[in-house]
């Protein structure tokens, strides 16, 4: 217990340093939050325009698409803020430059240190536009609210944060051995995020199966969305799969952390 509190204290102190440092350039910070929020929102605006002309996308209306889009953008933004220490793009560079070795020499849990090594505050822009789109969804989509749905919504957000965070950690671990397969991992991470913005039944079978059985993307927001929006399942899975999103997310994170620990044990420095 004391150990956990100690690590928690260290984590907050590390993040506090990050936040204070980023707030030194206040104008830059505000500009970056605004610019990422606006540019990302333009994508959603395009889809809104296009749906105005086409009416629906695979049978889903704008409000329903906004539910998918808003939940995934909001969660991905939050994850990208919290887990950016593991972002394979920056973490891989640290490994190559030998900066990771410095962390290993310190007498503090390595996972806590990497978690605390980066906290990208400007992701607030992405988080805010995700929240805005989710707001649009709650307004436009005719959701019949029940207590279950109210309680479940934060859980699917948490599930997605764990899921994407897990993918980041797997990518970071792979960078111990090779930097060239990182791209493939990025396709799974960012590709998952992109796919989840649209109803998964529109994709060709092989693609959807890959993102069901190899990467369990489909369970994180598509199936929960069917429950929230009271839509029938065109793919004929058992009804229970609408409710496993937090479990799948947590599962991916646990597996990722196991792989991470395995990677650390096998880690050999580049020597630079």
């Amino acid at each position: 217990m004391q150990r956990v509190l100690f690590l928690w204290g260290i984590y907050w102190r590390l993040i506090g340093v990050q936040v204070r440092a980023q707030m030194q350039y206040r104008m830059t910070f505000i500009l970056e939050v605004l610019s990422s929020g606006i540019t990302l929102f333009l994508f959603f605006l395009s889809i809104a325009f296009v749906l105005q002309r086409f009416g629906n996308l695979g049978g889903w209306t704008l409000g329903e698409i906004a539910f998918l889009w808003g939940t995934v953008e909001f969660s991905f933004g939050l994850m990208d803020m919290i887990f950016s220490g593991f972002d394979p793009a920056t973490f891989g560079k640290q490994v190559r430059q030998g900066l990771f070795d410095q962390l290993l020499l310190r007498p503090v849990n390595i996972t806590t240190q990497v978690m605390g090594s980066e906290f990208v505050l400007r992701r607030l822009g992405r988080i805010a536009q995700g929240a805005l789109i989710l707001g649009v969804a709650l307004n436009l989509a005719d959701i019949q609210w029940t207590l279950g749905k109210v309680l479940y919504l934060p859980l699917i957000i948490a599930g997605m944060i764990c899921f994407f965070g897990g993918l980041f950690i797997i990518g970071a671990t792979i960078s111990f051995w090779t930097i060239e397969s990182i791209e493939a991992m990025n396709v799974l991470t960012y590709g998952s995020g992109e796919m989840m913005a649209y109803p998964m039944h529109i994709y060709p079978d092989w693609l959807r199966r890959t993102f069901t059985y190899i990467v369990p993307t489909i369970f994180l927001n598509y199936y929960p969305a069917l429950y929230f929006l009271d839509k029938p399942d065109p793919l004929g899975m058992p009804a229970i799969v609408s409710f496993i999103s937090p479990l799948v997310g947590a599962g991916v994170l646990v597996v990722a952390l196991r792989f991470w620990r395995f990677g650390i044990q096998r880690y050999q420095s580049t020597g630079t």
């Binding site: 350039y25 104008m27 830059t28 500009l31 970056e32 605004l34 610019s35 990422s36 606006i38 540019t39 990302l40 333009l42 994508f43 605006l45 395009s46 889809i47 325009f49 296009v50 105005q52 002309r53 086409f54 629906n56 996308l57 695979g58 060239e180 791209e183 493939a184 990025n186 396709v187 590709g191 992109e194 796919m195 649209y198 109803p199 529109i202 994709y203 060709p204 693609l207």
Partner: protein
């Protein structure tokens, strides 16, 4: 000796730089392959979205499904060629101080970067652009232009779109002469173009007022013009006009680059050593 005797040493230097840059970019094989895989993957997603949007419709805003699918391929094909997701090389050279020696080179600063980008863009065009379209040709029923004149116009438009995109990227990168935090401005400037250029969705699908707004900016001349020529949506006088609009924006942008560069060089403080 030869360089001195050459009637136009600047032109020789320009081509030499472009060639070196071309060869350098050819060597990034792993990166090219990874980029190609990513583009193809996202292309597949876009095709699925287009197919679902069309449903049973045969034509929307003058485009049939085959055109829409071809659109997604062309959009992926120009990502690397036009550095759609951003280009910060010049900014980085300002932050690192390399800019000092670059400004002393016996070639104008704009032309120096233009030569480097020509090499980069040519490799991207061949290895990323052409290969994506060939892969699309294997998987999807895409459209291929069949009139020779269309290919000529397409070639001209491709070159113009690159020139315009380069001048735009150069201009945005010049902000680094003023502020060490130019990255945020760059992200916004490049991000705005994703939608306004017609890269994400065909501009034709948008409401009229938004299309009008987009066409008031230089961005459609970077992406939409070329794609619409390829798809045969721009023909005759409209096509000629579109090429002239591209040319107009290039002139405006290059003039802006020159003015801003002149002001920037006076302001520039080289950091470090």
């Amino acid at each position: 000796m030869q360089a001195v005797l050459s009637p136009m040493p600047e032109v020789r230097l320009f081509w030499e730089l472009a060639q070196r840059s071309f060869q350098r970019h050819l060597t990034y094989r792993a990166a090219t392959l990874a980029g190609l895989a990513t583009n193809v993957f996202f292309g597949f997603l876009r095709v699925a979205v287009m197919t679902a949007l069309y449903g049973t419709r045969t034509e929307v805003a003058g485009m049939d499904l085959a055109s829409a699918i071809t659109f997604t391929g062309l959009a992926q094909a120009v990502i690397a060629y036009l550095s759609i997701f951003g280009w910060y090389d010049l900014m980085r050279s300002v932050n690192s101080g390399e800019v000092a020696s670059d400004l002393l080179k016996p070639l104008g600063y704009f032309r120096f970067w233009l030569a480097l980008d020509l090499g980069r863009a040519s490799v991207a065009f061949l290895l990323r652009g052409v290969s994506i379209m060939l892969l699309y040709l294997c998987f999807f029923p895409i459209i291929v232009p069949d009139r020779p004149m269309q290919w000529v116009a397409l070639g001209a438009s491709f070159i113009l779109s690159w020139l315009l995109s380069f001048a735009w990227r150069f201009l945005i990168n010049l902000t680094a002469f003023w502020t060490p935090n130019a990255l945020g401005i760059g992200r916004f400037a490049f991000g705005a173009a994703w939608v306004l250029s017609g890269f994400f969705m065909p501009l034709r699908f948008f409401p009229d007022w938004f299309q009008t707004f987009c066409y008031l900016t230089p961005f459609p001349s970077m992406v939409t013009t070329t794609i619409e020529i390829y798809l045969g949506l721009l023909t005759g006088p409209a096509l000629v006009q579109a090429l002239f609009v591209q040319l107009f924006w290039i002139v405006v942008m290059i003039l802006a680059c020159q003015r801003v560069l002149r002001a920037g060089v006076h302001r520039l403080v080289i950091q470090g050593g």
